[in-house]
């Protein structure tokens, strides 16, 4: 276990999939992120922890191309995204990133398989067979035509995961993915993440739950927009 004040990039052989340099996000005088630097090599499972309001979601939004930093440099898959416009950001988001939310954000009037197909539609071509296969992989083959309101929280989160994975993103971002789930469903979701990790997908998981955080190979703690701690597991 090592604990350090700032996250000095550790030298790696291959260029990292994600690299942040002095990333700052300011809301007026409040700095939600304050000069954050980190590297995430391809294939890593990184946990982000920290108290509420410490900047975890802000960090995820910037990495997920949903938001832009006030200053600093973000390199994602070799592209600098800090200065890109909305259209270019949405292109990178579509091709590179899969998003998993605490509140699932399924479209209420579309059934499970259609919710997965939406991501296909905006990525390339909707393919119902492939979308059903993705639901099968998260154990929901028999729920394909259910509306979100007919699914339990855990099932909805699995649809959300299937949607995030359908276009084979290189980076999966999950913001408190188990925050709304009971222990049983939490285990199912973690099992899915383990499988993803084994397949080589890069995972960044924000969590409050120390047990979930320990699943990652590395854990970074944020507080008041600073990286305050970095822990390597296993």
């Amino acid at each position: 276990m090592t604990s350090i004040e700032t996250a000095a990039p550790r030298p790696t052989e291959a260029p990292p999939l994600l690299s942040l340099r002095n990333v700052t996000k300011a809301y007026g005088s409040l700095k939600a992120l304050d000069a954050v630097s980190m590297d995430v090599p391809a294939g890593e499972w990184l946990s982000i922890v920290g108290p509420s309001g410490s900047g975890k979601t802000t960090l995820m939004n910037i990495v997920g191309c949903l938001d832009r930093p006030t200053s600093g440099e973000v390199l994602l898959a070799g592209h600098s995204i800090a200065g890109l416009g909305g259209r270019a950001l949405s292109d990178i988001r579509r091709t590179t990133v899969g998003l998993i939310f605490q509140k699932f954000h399924l479209i209420a009037h579309l059934n499970a398989v259609e919710n997965v197909m939406v991501a296909q539609y905006y990525h390339s071509m909707p393919d119902e067979a492939e979308a059903r296969a993705a639901l099968d992989r998260v154990g929901l083959a028999d729920r394909a035509t259910h509306l979100p309101s007919q699914l339990s929280g855990g099932e909805q989160q699995r649809v959300c995961i299937a949607r995030a994975l359908i276009n084979y993103p290189r980076l999966v971002l999950a913001d408190e993915p188990t925050g709304n789930l009971d222990a049983a469903n939490e285990h199912i979701v973690l099992e899915l993440f383990r499988r993803l990790h084994e397949e080589g997908t890069t995972l960044i998981v924000v969590t409050h739950d120390p047990e979930v955080a320990r699943e990652g190979g590395r854990e970074i703690a944020l507080d008041h927009g600073h990286v305050v701690r970095e822990v390597h597991h296993g």
Partner: protein, 432 residues
């Protein structure tokens, strides 16, 4: 997938969708009714205005020249006359369909010999006319011409008489008061030169015109009293006319001055002057003249009525667009997480706008179609309430309503589209 998403979306958020559709229904209904009435109102308003009297007067040639020369030459003119038999030609002219009504008039000065007449018995003018005369048009259709419809606003106590009631007459209210005449009285009417008749009073005319001091009787009665069998002094014609333009005014001054093609255009347009010209052609020794003031005011009242209807249409559509803009904005706000999600999985602003517009378009068009149907009915209600007739809705109304509904949908969608474009997924997806 696009339409799958649209279809799925249309089945939820029912209330706000129904509201949008209803708003569009209302707008389209008013637009259809107003435009339907507007395009058909020309004929209706003209038909209404015929109540104000004739817009073309036909006089014998001699009389017309004299009235033009001397202001007060009507008395001199009374000897020149038109032929009653020619009148049958009027429904055969090119614009016969536009002739709403006409009536001949023959006036004669008579002495009234009542029982209690003193040394100087009262004198009065008796007017002979048609009341409801059956005629056959060129196409074999029956038309009725005469005073009963041309003076529909007269109030006649005791009731109108018929053309074959040669022993009956109507008396103007002033004259009846002055000479002590009541309904049912029999008057001995002396036309001079030994021509006299007994006429029973069938009705009293209440009106503000000259007839208040006159007697009105069937044409044949007056022809007999005046010794002018088959003659007519004047014909009044009520015709539906197109408002005059430059061409019509030049033609009215001198038809010979027109080129062949101008002549063609003029002849085949229902100007008062071209109808008058055609009347000249079928009536021997006659001069037909538009009565200008009436014709022009008809045109301007019509234009004002139509302008009013256009304004009502524009206002109701603007109101619809505003209401739709409100409903749409509320609906987009409610759906912000969904829209944010679409953007988060990679939808561009344009695709999201397209999706929302398609939903909106389907909703609005459904409302618009319903509104068009209701508007057709509403137009008939207006037609019957205001004009007592059906409205013939023209194809151009359908075309205009389709275009207007499209414009209203797009205009109503603009504020929510701007909102959609501004909406950032980061702000809505984490529930701040």
């Amino acid at each position: 997938m696009f339409w799958r998403m649209v279809r799925a979306a249309l089945t939820r958020q029912r209330t706000s969708r129904v509201m949008i559709a209803l708003t569009m229904t209302l707008g389209a209904c008013v637009a259809t009714a107003m435009l339907g009435v507007m395009f058909d109102v020309g004929d209706k308003v003209n038909a209404e205005l015929k109540a104000y009297g004739a817009n073309i007067v036909v006089q014998p040639k001699g009389a017309a020249v004299l009235t033009d020369l001397y202001d007060d030459a009507a008395a001199l003119a009374s000897t020149a006359s038109l032929r009653e038999s020619d009148l049958a030609n009027i429904p055969t002219i090119f614009w016969a369909h536009n002739i709403v009504d006409f009536a001949p008039f023959l006036e004669h000065r008579v002495t009234l010999l009542t029982d209690d007449a003193g040394p100087s018995p009262p004198q009065a003018t008796i007017v002979g006319t048609w009341f409801a005369h059956e005629l056959m048009g060129a196409a074999g259709q029956h038309t009725t011409a005469g005073l009963i419809s041309m003076r529909s606003w007269w109030q006649v106590d005791g009731g109108w008489i018929a053309d074959q009631d040669e022993g009956l007459a109507l008396v103007g209210a002033n004259l009846a008061d002055a000479a002590g005449i009541a309904i049912g009285d029999t008057l001995t009417v002396d036309g001079g030169q030994g021509r006299s008749r007994d006429l029973r009073v069938a009705g009293i005319i209440h009106s503000s015109g000259p007839e208040s001091d006159q007697l009105v009787a069937p044409l044949s009665t007056v022809q007999a009293l005046a010794g002018r069998a088959g003659e007519v002094g004047r014909v009044e014609v009520a015709a539906l006319t197109t408002p005059d333009n430059d061409l019509a005014r030049r033609a009215a001054r001198n038809p010979e001055s027109l080129s062949v093609s101008e002549m063609e255009t003029w002849y085949c347009t229902a100007y008062a002057s071209s109808i008058a010209y055609q009347l000249d052609e079928v009536l021997t020794d006659a001069v037909a003249k538009p009565v200008r003031q009436v014709t022009e005011s008809e045109g301007s009242i019509l234009a004002k009525t139509q302008l009013l209807m256009l304004l009502v249409t524009a206002l109701s559509l603007a109101a619809s667009a505003l209401a739709i803009a409100n409903l749409m904005t509320a609906s987009v706000m409610e759906r912000a997480p969904e829209i944010g999600l679409l953007k988060a999985v990679g939808a561009r602003d344009g695709s999201v706008v397209g999706l929302i517009l398609a939903e909106m378009g389907v909703t609005g068009l459904a409302g618009g179609a319903l509104g068009y149907g209701l508007g057709l009915g509403f137009a008939q209600v207006i037609g019957h309430a205001v004009f007592g007739e059906s409205i013939a809705v023209r194809p151009i109304v359908a075309a205009s309503v389709v275009v207007l509904v499209g414009v209203v949908i797009v205009a109503g969608a603009i504020p929510s589209i701007r909102m959609l474009a501004r909406l950032r997924p980061a702000d809505v997806l984490h529930g701040r």
